[in-house]
């Protein structure tokens, strides 16, 4: 008699809801044709909202299912919220864009939703193979999304590059998992943490090789330097809402698993990993910011800036304490709002075909469209970390925790990077306010769906910046359980 694994479907209700919605979208796409397909996005919207309710119902739970492979705790649920917010914003960013670029089809929403399912599994995974599974479910739709603008060479290039790099990264990841399994005999996080002790690396150096390869695998996805080379081309080539999605949700997913894996599962040997993360953080922040300085294309500039922002979150990962994790998650929240807003503005100010996305095409925007210019400035200020916006409190929180944990140099390098970044974010503002008018800014239309996304993002950016206390408490509530067992 074979003993069947205990399957507890209730732990993955949100995933199931999204999955069913995705299939519903695909089926609806078969029956609705032509220009009347816009309501398809409403199905996706409804699914996202229902999933959010399901997550809300699970809040406070701490259960595992699938023989311990999946865990539902507040930490995972917080990330699921972030993914849903990311998907929601992307949805609002996409509808008008897809119509403008004549790309509207049901598959687009299907891919977004499936990718969200992968991310949710990733954030809930309590085991390495499940994490790999989640990563692949997340990644494959992303490859397709990058190449969604089939007629454009850039978009095809983006898809191919992303696919090759992603496959390469998955190779690293699975190889690393093999090392860990080989030396420890388990892939379950709870068992790993029990099996490890502070001198494990001395007795079994293979563990270090394994964990390093796993970190490299995720570092590709989260775009840490030096594993970032795919980012600029993919971000530039992919349709802009997809780029926005890339810069928010998969990044958050990568951090979801990295925080859990490194600061919980591998906590006994975290001290040895901290230096590696320190170096990665400095490289990611500095290289991202320095290359962003020279960019002329707004999407490329935001691509490098998103690398730099991952670097700030890496600082909080390198701290390795519960407080550090809180600071990192808070930053992710702030980053989601401000980056989605910035990409929303790029879509709003773009034109069909997106041939000219240089920063200089925003010249003199403030004269004809003062509200648009002011909103874009808000997001730029926040990304640059200027008070009183979300970006400031986020950075403050990270550097503050870095200093309290003794990482003073990391904090100093961080703030210097933050000053460097001011230069290129300000350049956008200079162009909008202080340069002569460019031809491209004469016509700007304001589609309602896009405005919803931008207003949501602007509200988030300001609210997190001015009244961060509630957000901080919310994040503490979600992180506190993660470290209780340790």
């Amino acid at each position: 008699m074979i003993s069947l694994p205990i399957i507890n479907f209730s732990v993955i209700y949100p995933e199931i809801i999204i999955l069913v919605t995705a299939i519903a979208v695909l089926i609806a796409d078969l029956f609705i044709k032509g220009d009347r397909r816009a309501p398809i996005s409403l199905i996706a919207l409804a699914g996202i909202i229902m999933a959010a309710f399901a997550i809300h119902a699970q809040w406070g739970a701490n259960v595992s299912g699938f023989s311990g492979a999946i865990i539902v705790d507040n930490y995972a649920l917080l990330f699921k919220y972030i993914f849903l917010v990311g998907a929601l914003l992307t949805l609002f960013l996409s509808v008008w864009y897809l119509q403008r670029e004549e790309l509207f089809s049901g598959e687009y929403f299907f891919f977004i939703l499936i990718s969200i399912v992968g991310m949710m599994i990733l954030s809930s995974s309590n085991e390495l193979i499940t994490a790999f599974l989640g990563l692949e479910i997340m990644s494959i739709p992303l490859y397709l999304l990058a190449g969604f603008d089939k007629g454009k060479l850039r978009s095809n290039e983006a898809a191919l590059k992303y696919l090759l790099m992603g496959a390469f990264a998955s190779g690293f990841l699975i190889y690393g998992i093999a090392f860990i399994y080989g030396s420890m005999g388990t892939t379950n996080f709870d068992e790993i943490v029990r099996a490890l002790s502070s001198d494990s690396l001395d007795t079994d150096p293979l563990i270090l090789i394994g964990i390093s390869m796993i970190v490299i695998g995720f570092a590709f996805k989260t775009a840490f330097v030096p594993f970032h080379s795919w980012v600029p081309d993919v971000y530039t080539g992919a349709p802009t809402p997809v780029t926005a999605f890339f810069s928010i949700a998969p990044k958050a997913a990568g951090f979801a698993i990295l925080f859990r894996l490194l600061t919980v599962a591998f906590s006994p040997i975290f001290v040895n990993l901290s230096t590696m993360l320190w170096v990665l953080a400095v490289l990611t922040m500095s290289v991202g910011n320095l290359i962003a300085l020279t960019q002329r294309n707004i999407k490329r500039m935001l691509a490098y800036s998103s690398i730099a922002h991952a670097g700030y979150i890496l600082v909080s990962l390198a701290i390795g304490t519960s407080k550090g994790t809180e600071a990192g998650l808070f930053y992710l929240l702030a980053y989601t709002a401000m980056n989605a807003g910035a990409f929303g503005m790029v879509i709003l100010l773009g034109h069909k075909g997106e041939d000219d996305l240089t920063i200089s095409s925003y010249g003199g925007l403030s004269r004809r469209h003062p509200v648009a210019a002011a909103t874009m400035s808000l997001f730029m200020f926040s990304l640059a970390g200027i008070p009183p916006t979300a970006g400031f409190i986020g950075k403050f929180n990270i550097f503050s925790n870095a200093i309290s944990a003794g990482f003073i140099w990391l904090a100093i390098i961080g703030v210097i990077n933050s000053v460097i970044s001011v230069y290129y974010y300000l350049r956008v503002i200079i162009t909008m306010y202080m340069k002569p008018e460019a031809d491209s800014v004469t016509t700007v239309t304001y589609p309602p769906s896009l405005l919803v996304a931008i207003i949501l993002a602007a509200w988030g950016t300001l609210h997190i910046g001015l009244f961060p206390n509630g957000w901080l408490l919310f994040i503490r509530e979600s992180v506190v359980g993660l470290y209780q067992a340790l």
Partner: protein
């Protein structure tokens, strides 16, 4: 005058934002209405703040009109406003000059008036927030946020090299403040680990039972001082100032000189000295020497300028050198003189920038060589120009004299050599200012364009008259202002010198282990210091 729970400081700080909201509702073509709303908002704000001068109790050094509510308790950050005799004067200086600066822009700013007035009012909120914040992070928020309205004012309405100037201005300030942020956070944790009180509250940090070790104090002081020294600006961090001043529109220059530069000096007074008194005394020689270099260098650079505006800008470097020298004497005269000179510089240099702006509006040039003999063409203008010039030089009877005299008096008490060197700055100031004045105002009218210049109109006269009235008032009767800051200044010197004395006493006791005679001499030392 105010009931104790009326949040007067918040009202003053955020009132300009109400003006912003009103302006936002006005169509951008209705320039007149926008200007009036902006001017009225700033004027009403001045009227609101003026009672503070009389209501502020001069007999206590404690913070008054405090408002204290938690803002981000999770991070130990509170919303803490309050003023003492020093910051009260800065608040009133700000609210006094802002309406004048806005009024002065009526003639010069004709494009994008809506955006300009919005920026200016937001700037006022930022500046006031800096002066009334008593929580380090709250202070930092205003300190950084205040940069950007000024960034827009210089960058949009400035001269030909405005973008270069404004980016330089922002980046210089931000580099300094980035390290200050690290120091603030470090200070917080240092205090938290040793006293278990998580707070950025200045009052609590200042009265903390935990004495910061001197080597850490030095680092923290250096980080704070860099941020403030860039803002002051002290030599050699002054290079952004001439660029920013020359490119900024008139009103921008006025506010930049009159208020923004004072934030640097104010930062030293409010944060550096009380939080790190020992380090401050260790750094005194360095800062005093840089201040003196600034005095002489600024004066010599001013001497060779061909553009009146950059001459005034370099004279600011020189004057702010005096302020810093005064502050770092740590005696009452020097500190009072330094603070008074902060106000004086606001009035005199603010006035000079207004004068230069009026000249520029008429001739569209600021080159000294393009003028000459203006006394015959525009007599009222010339007289007002002369009064403000003399006040900038520090002629007895004007405000400048009182400030510089007190600073030099304080400097003589602490270090004779510094005083002698700094005094040369006074002479140099007379030379470059008078020489410039002579070339612009006296002599023959040898340029045809100058013959038809119009004299000041009513608006321009009304802008300059309050400044001139204050020049004479402070020059002849400075007591009301000095007496209001006196207690706060005494408190400040007591904090700094107390630490001196503790150190010196320890030193003495170690050398002369306790005979009765020595104990007497020890008391004497204490008494001398108390004077």
């Amino acid at each position: 005058m105010f009931s104790s729970d009326f949040p007067i400081l918040s009202v003053i700080t955020y009132l300009p934002l109400i003006g912003v909201l009103l302006i936002l509702m006005i169509d951008k073509e209705k320039v007149g209405a926008i200007r009036i709303v902006a001017l009225l908002t700033a004027a009403i704000n001045f009227l609101f703040s003026l009672p503070l001068f009389f209501a502020c109790d001069p007999s206590t050094a404690a913070f008054q009109f405090t408002e204290h509510v938690p803002w981000i308790p999770e991070l130990g950050i509170s919303y803490f406003f309050g003023i003492d005799g020093i910051s009260m004067l800065m608040v009133i200086l700000t609210t006094f000059l802002t309406p004048l600066a806005i009024w002065a822009s009526f003639g010069s700013i004709t494009e994008k008036v809506k955006g300009y007035m919005i920026s200016f009012l937001i700037l006022e909120t930022g500046m006031l927030g800096v002066f009334v914040s008593l929580d380090l992070i709250l202070f930092f928020v205003f300190w950084e946020a205040m940069l950007f309205p000024m960034y827009f004012i210089i960058g949009i309405w400035g001269g030909p090299r405005r973008i270069y100037a404004t980016v330089k201005f922002v980046l210089f300030t931000m580099i300094g403040s980035a390290l200050m942020l690290i120091a603030i956070i470090y200070l917080y944790y240092l205090n938290y680990q040793n006293t278990n009180i998580p707070t950025f509250n200045l009052e609590l940090l200042q009265s903390s039972q935990f004495p910061i070790p001197i080597n850490i104090q030095m680092w923290l002081f250096a980080a704070f001082a860099l941020a403030f020294a860039i803002k002051v600006p002290m030599f050699p961090f002054h290079t952004w100032l001439p660029d920013a001043h020359v490119e900024a529109p008139t009103a921008g220059s006025v506010i930049l000189a009159a208020v923004l530069l004072k934030m640097g000096a104010y930062g030293f007074l409010r944060f550096c000295l009380p939080l790190f008194p020992q380090a401050a005394s260790e750094f005194t020689p360095l800062i005093s020497i840089l201040a003196i270099v600034g005095i002489i260098y600024g004066a010599m650079m001013a001497f060779v300028q061909k553009d009146v505006k950059s001459l005034v800008a370099y004279s600011s470097v020189s004057h702010l050198g005096f302020v810093m020298l005064g502050i770092f004497t740590f005696n009452i005269q020097g500190l009072q003189g330094g603070i008074l000179q902060m106000i004086n510089h606001g009035i005199s240099t603010g006035g000079l920038f207004l004068i230069v702006g009026m000249l520029y509006e008429r001739r569209h040039t600021r080159m000294i060589g393009d003028f000459g003999g203006l006394a015959k063409v525009v007599p009222v203008f010339s007289v007002m120009f002369m009064i403000i010039t003399l006040s900038s030089i520090g002629l007895p009877g004007t405000n400048g004299f009182v400030g510089e005299f007190l600073i030099l008096l304080g400097a003589f008490k602490s270090n004779m050599v510094y005083a002698v060197l700094a005094a040369t700055g006074v002479v140099l100031a007379a030379v470059y200012m008078l020489w410039m004045f002579q070339r612009v105002i006296f002599g023959q009218v040898d340029k045809k364009e100058n013959e038809t210049l119009l004299d000041l109109n009513l608006r321009e006269k009304l802008i300059l008259i309050p400044l001139i009235a204050l020049i004479f008032f402070i020059g002849i009767y400075p007591k009301p202002i000095l007496s209001r800051m006196e207690t706060s200044v005494k408190n400040l010197t007591a904090i700094v010198q107390q630490k001196f004395r503790v150190e010196e006493d320890n030193h003495k006791i170690r050398i002369i282990s306790g005979t009765p005679m020595d104990k007497i001499s020890l008391n004497e030392v204490g008494e001398q210091k108390n004077e």
